[in-house]
Symmetry: C2
Subunit: 402 residues, 2 copies
Amino acid sequence: MAWKWPASFQPGRVNHTHINTIVVGAGAAGVGLGVALQDYKAGEFLIVDRHCIGASFLRWPKEMRLITPSFNTTPFGILDLNAVMLHTSVANFLGAEHPTGKQYAHYLQQAAIECQLPVQAGIDIVQVEAPEKAGTRGRAPTPSGPGTTFRLTCRDGSVYTADNVIWAAGEFQYPRTHSFPGAAHCLHNSQIASFQELPGRDRIVIGAFESGVDAAVHLVRRGVHVTLLHGAEQLATQEQDPSRSLSPFTRERLAAVTAERSNLRVLANHRVTEVKRERGGYTVCTVQGSFFSEHQPILATGFVGGVAPVKHLFAYRDDGNILLNEHDESTLTPGLFLAGPLVRHEHHIFCYIYKFRQRFAIVAESVARRLGLPVPDDVAATYHANQMRLEDLSCCGKECVC
Amino acid sequence: MAWKWPASFQPGRVNHTHINTIVVGAGAAGVGLGVALQDYKAGEFLIVDRHCIGASFLRWPKEMRLITPSFNTTPFGILDLNAVMLHTSVANFLGAEHPTGKQYAHYLQQAAIECQLPVQAGIDIVQVEAPEKAGTRGRAPTPSGPGTTFRLTCRDGSVYTADNVIWAAGEFQYPRTHSFPGAAHCLHNSQIASFQELPGRDRIVIGAFESGVDAAVHLVRRGVHVTLLHGAEQLATQEQDPSRSLSPFTRERLAAVTAERSNLRVLANHRVTEVKRERGGYTVCTVQGSFFSEHQPILATGFVGGVAPVKHLFAYRDDGNILLNEHDESTLTPGLFLAGPLVRHEHHIFCYIYKFRQRFAIVAESVARRLGLPVPDDVAATYHANQMRLEDLSCCGKECVC
């Protein structure tokens, strides 16, 4: 099946191409946003990715699985939690409740193919310049006028210009590796191809949120003696919001390995202060003493996100997160949008697929408005009815009775 | 916390009590419907159960878990798949993705307590007589008039009368044990307290839908050699609707034990024709030969449902299922409603909690109308927005792209 390339875009002729909207990143957010732009008929667009569709998921450790469960609820009006577009069921397509990264990449690729999304792989955007008139809030740019559009430069020197840029580069390929001195001596969990193939009979894991517990569970099941160090008073099991708490999937796995095996020790109140390379191994220093292992400690301290080329075009919140307006748009640079797990509004964290997919429609509607195109009400209603459009965040985070 | 008993009902004085609506069964459907009747202010009601709240779940085999996954999505506008009322999160309350029966009963009991539902335990309804004027569709009965109300007789001889009866007795306590000659020699999976405690090194399991595969998985993990016999050409993994297909949870578990162990054989095209008690054991005859085991075969052929006392008050479809109108009401007996996993409409099977909970609102609205009470639009809208109200079934079962 041939891609439906935008009329103004000729693959292969990429020395200078103008397009209404460029989506950077072809992961869950980029693919989902592409479908939303299509559904809203929000102008011509192109999705670019430095690797390929679902590349981050393809890089997951072999044993790692989506935390959020898929179930075949889609035909019954409850969209599969891991779906990025309407009418699709990850559970049904993959036959899996917690798909592996490889499986999920397959779903994204299939979605892109079925929708004939215009995706250009192998395009690595290294620099983004804002329109000169950026800062004039609310004013639609004159399409293609010099200096009035975004200018995106690729690693190979070719240039795209666009009226809107949607940054959807995600987190996974941008690990947090400088949390403390010597962190670079460690192996970040995102760099592990398979826990099965890691050598050694003992291993220190630093960080006990989802990735840390995930790493520990896989290693403990293999019989590896794992010391899981974390700085909190206890494991994150008390919060209501799953973005701040261990997921039920992970709690159940942790409870199972703890009940069945004795080769896991979880040490709370052990914030790591430094990792030293010495005595043919690694010393992990914490606020409560040191731990030694011959094997490279696993660093599971999360991700910083890949926003370098657009970093200067956003303002930031006091907590360091990107500041967005109600359209998930930069407050400094109109026409620059953020999509995916880095999106924050007040205390709401959009780090799961079922959360951040609810903002695709909001962005697509803004893009349409900026291009002077109508925003079809029926599309918005359908997205809303299928847990794909969340505008009013005041309803989130209500206390549960139970 | 004291129950809010309906004003007309005095616990203890049950020789003859009239109430607007009686809900029979305090399981997932009965509790959920009670909350819906409360939310809709649909008159006074009483929930009766022959055992207690969540009694069926308390009878589950210890290792059995809900097939549908819970996740903490509730605060983000996607109601937990296993919740029976708004604003509750099974995942959050129990910290479990696939709760055990005991855990889930705890959730139901907590929900009933928080909502102060009027539940009367230990009431076993053995006979239900319809109002004499039943058949006069659409006419609201005169409350309490003799012969104009339902008359429910309990095992102890006491009597309730009610204007509406909602039958929510469920399936689990009513196993299908007569599928073939000698089926009664078998142990129905619902009668197993724990797979861990079943004796023997080999076991025949009859039926390979959810319960059969569940039994097989638990036994195989323990090292028991299991022969799983079923009559279909292959395991049910191809259907889109999870009511007709093995769930992702079960597929993943089956794939895992199949990959890790060699003590499971699954035999398709082996419809069982008879079970004989002989030679100090059991011979299971199939259309393709016989199998012998010293141990009682496990019968996993499903449930018939507990509708005996109201069986004569319903009409039936050609496939044997109960015929319901668009309000989930008997077509023969106005004011008699069915709730829970036995509900069918055309080809739609409401066997999962996230499915049948979407009909509580429909029933509550009908009850309100029959009692001449207003149906509050805002409640209906809130139920609808939270995947708790499904009126138009035409949207169900759409083909998925993936």
